[in-house]
């Protein structure tokens, strides 16, 4: 089946506007943190959850920490040469 060309062209255009998407991401994140000041859990499951921005910091620190620890420390210890997995079929 043929994939639609128009959709492909639109995605190419989107790729060329990566900067605009980045600004949009920052704006959305700012709005979310702003909302977090107003919207808080009615019954926090632990103390930290009641602090605005808790989950934002949690996710950011976790994502960066995970990449650094796993890719820089764990990966060199575990990586072995790839076997011939015969992907080309």
């Amino acid at each position: 089946m043929r994939e639609p060309n128009s959709l492909g062209a639109w995605l190419d255009a989107a790729r060329n506007n990566a900067r605009a998407f980045k600004i949009l991401l920052y704006a959305v994140l700012a709005v979310l943190v702003g909302l977090n000041v107003v919207i808080l859990p009615r019954h926090p499951h632990f103390e930290g959850e009641g602090v605005p921005g808790f989950w934002a910091v949690f996710a950011l620190v976790a994502a960066i920490g995970m990449v650094v620890v796993l890719k820089k420390i764990v990966y060199p210890l575990l990586a072995r040469p790839e076997e011939d997995t015969n992907d080309r079929s």
Partner: protein, 604 residues
């Protein structure tokens, strides 16, 4: 004919029957006529959906619908209750999606394997006793291993053997446990075990279940074998084995603390490995370990909400994980590789594949509006409300890692990262798109209308996913994970490698065993060769002269006649059947086993 009377006593069409019948029929069809017979592949799934939906609409409460006598035991093949129905429901739907996705495959062997595999899964879900469960459990192992072997590559053959050995190992634990249990309790009934009343045989059975649930450290068969499966076979593999294990754990072992803690470890372990993995299908395989971890953890905590969460998450997971494997399968089919280092820049070349994959990716990541959101948050909230804060935080951390690796890393490096790809792409058949389309629509539908899924859940719980806080919390978690990725995208770049996991340990054990046997054998053989050369040969020559004389005078006449008989009477056929490949013997053994089973049932 007692067997026929028993058949008449079955009050519902057991979904396994249609799949087994199709597997049998396929044995008599030819690969080159697949354009005609392939439509038959859709019949068993449609019948399964009809059967399960009619059961769902039927009277509530537990029902025993198909108990049959077999070899002096009563096999309960049709225990129908809310727990079995929620799994049967999604199994039926996923079998239809899987067969639509595989509709272009002209290999009847692959379809037969898938049929046996799905039949086994339905059999397990409706089994009311351990004996029936064991039979279908093993049928699943055998059906599924052919979905790996039939890829036909050396890597697939090797991984398939490791997979089979590990599942035989797990199956033996189940068998040993159920026999020990029968010896102690005098029953095969498959009922819930209270955590404080569990005996040693319950733990033996539990080990058998945990192998199939890919419980760390018994999990390594999964990321080892699934990425080597056929393009369409992996879609089936991702759905049935681990989720059947989740079902039996929910049925028998709710509230076991080891499951609560071990489930959380699974969540994180799978995510950590996926973050450093290069092969798209292996990333997804590690995420099966991780996602099944949520379910196992929920079962271990054992409250109504976490058990419901586990069942709901299994339902959602089957749909989105199948979708993700379909997306990765399209990449492998079209671009010829599943490795991120060899992919890239495909977004505008394969936009529909990208969109389908992304629906699966945001679903698994728990984005509001998609099915993962309404099921994952249920398990985590259930854990938090049961005051298991650390487990809930572990699952939130795994959610960050999930979005990081499956939601962003994989699509970023497969579809974007590099400049627009100019690689030659094989056109993808329409049915593969259709399979992805149906799965995408269901992921969205359940996300938008969670009550349709909640209505199927076994325990009454009040959970409202769409509160302003839940939605905001999910958006914060995903949004800031995205920010973390954008900072780290130069570091997380995948590299071609195979990362050490527990499968290296059991490969080392295997090699050690071979050495243990071969070294002493070689030593004995050396000594024996010397002894034989010095003593045996002389004696043998003398004996040879004697037998030659006897042979020439007496035997020739008799043998000539019978040798001709063997040659003309099928000796050549027998020789041809001896292919020397253990896969063929296994297939023959299964066919023979099923025939014997049927013969004993009908005539016994």
């Amino acid at each position: 004919m007692t067997g026929l009377d028993q058949l008449a006593g079955i009050h519902f069409l057991h979904p396994s029957i249609a799949f087994l019948a199709l597997a049998l029929a396929l044995a008599f069809l030819k690969n080159d006529q697949y354009r005609i017979w392939r439509w038959l592949l859709l019949a068993p799934p449609v019948m399964a959906i009809a059967s399960v939906v009619s059961l769902t609409m039927g009277p509530g409460g537990a029902r025993e619908l198909a108990a049959v006598s077999y070899l002096g035991q009563t096999l309960s093949l049709g225990r129908v209750d809310t727990l079995s129905l929620v799994f049967a429901h999604v199994f039926a739907i996923q079998s239809l999606i899987g067969f639509i996705y595989a509709l272009h495959v002209p290999s009847r062997g692959q379809h037969m394997a898938a049929c046996l595999y799905v039949a086994g899964a339905f059999g397990c879900v409706f089994a009311g006793d351990y004996l029936s469960l064991f039979i279908f459990w093993e049928l699943m192992s055998i059906g599924s291993v052919f979905l790996i072997w039939l890829r036909g590559t050396p890597a697939a053959t090797a991984a398939g053997f490791r997979y089979l050995l590990f599942h035989i190992f797990g199956g033996l634990f189940l068998l040993a446990g159920l026999l020990l249990r029968h010896a102690e309790l005098g029953t095969f009934a498959f009922t819930a075990v209270a955590p404080d009343a569990a005996r040693y045989f319950d733990y033996v059975i539990l080990i058998g279940f945990l192998v199939n649930a890919a419980f760390v450290p018994l999990h390594a068969w999964l990321p080892d074998a699934y990425p080597e499966g056929t393009v369409t076979g992996a879609v089936f593999l991702s759905a049935f084995t681990t989720k059947t294990a989740v079902y039996v754990l929910a049925r028998g072992y709710a509230g076991f603390e080891i499951l609560a803690v071990g489930g959380c470890v699974m969540c994180l372990y799978g995510v950590f490995y996926a973050t450093i993995e290069n092969n798209t299908r292996r990333i997804l395989a590690y995420h099966i370990v991780s996602q099944v971890g949520y379910m196992v953890c929920g079962i271990g905590i054992g409250t109504a909400m976490t058990l419901d969460g586990a069942c709901a998450h299994a339902y959602a997971h089957i749909l989105y994980k199948g979708l993700l494997f379909m997306g990765a399968g399209c990449l492998l089919y079209s671009a010829g590789t599943a490795k991120l280092t060899e992919l890239g820049g495909l977004a505008s070349r394969l936009p529909l594949v990208m969109i389908g994959y992304m629906v699966g990716a945001v679903s698994i990541s728990g984005m509001p509006l998609f099915n993962g959101f309404v099921t994952k948050t249920m398990t985590i909230t259930g854990a938090a409300e049961a005051h298991r804060t650390w487990l809930a935080l572990g699952m939130e951390l795994a959610a960050v890692g999930t979005f990081l690796s499956v939601g962003i890393k994989l699509p970023y490096f497969a579809f974007w990262a590099k400049p627009k790809s100019t690689a030659e792409l094989k056109p993808i058949p329409w049915n593969m798109y259709l399979g992805m389309g149906i799965a995408s629509a269901l992921c969205l539908f359940i996300g938008l209308f969670p009550q349709t899924l909640y209505a199927l859940l076994p325990f009454p719980t009040e959970y409202v996913p769409y509160t302003s806080w839940h939605v905001l919390q999910a958006c914060l978690l995903l949004g800031f994970t995205g920010l973390g990725f954008s900072f780290m995208r130069k570091i997380i770049v995948p590299h071609p490698s195979r990362n050490l996991d527990f499968d290296f340990l059991y490969r080392a054990v295997g090699r050690g065993f071979v050495k243990l046997v071969s070294v002493p054998t070689a030593a004995v053989d050396n000594v024996w060769t010397d002894v034989y050369a010095k003593i045996g040969l002389r004696g043998l020559l003398a004996a040879g002269r004697g037998t030659s004389l006897f042979d020439g005078k007496g035997i020739d006449g008799v043998i000539d006649g019978s040798a001709r008989g063997v040659r003309e009477g099928g000796g050549a056929t027998v020789a041809r059947a001896q292919t020397g490949r253990i896969q063929d013997y296994l297939a023959a053994a299964v066919a023979l086993g099923l025939l014997l089973f049927a013969a004993v049932w009908f005539l016994g």
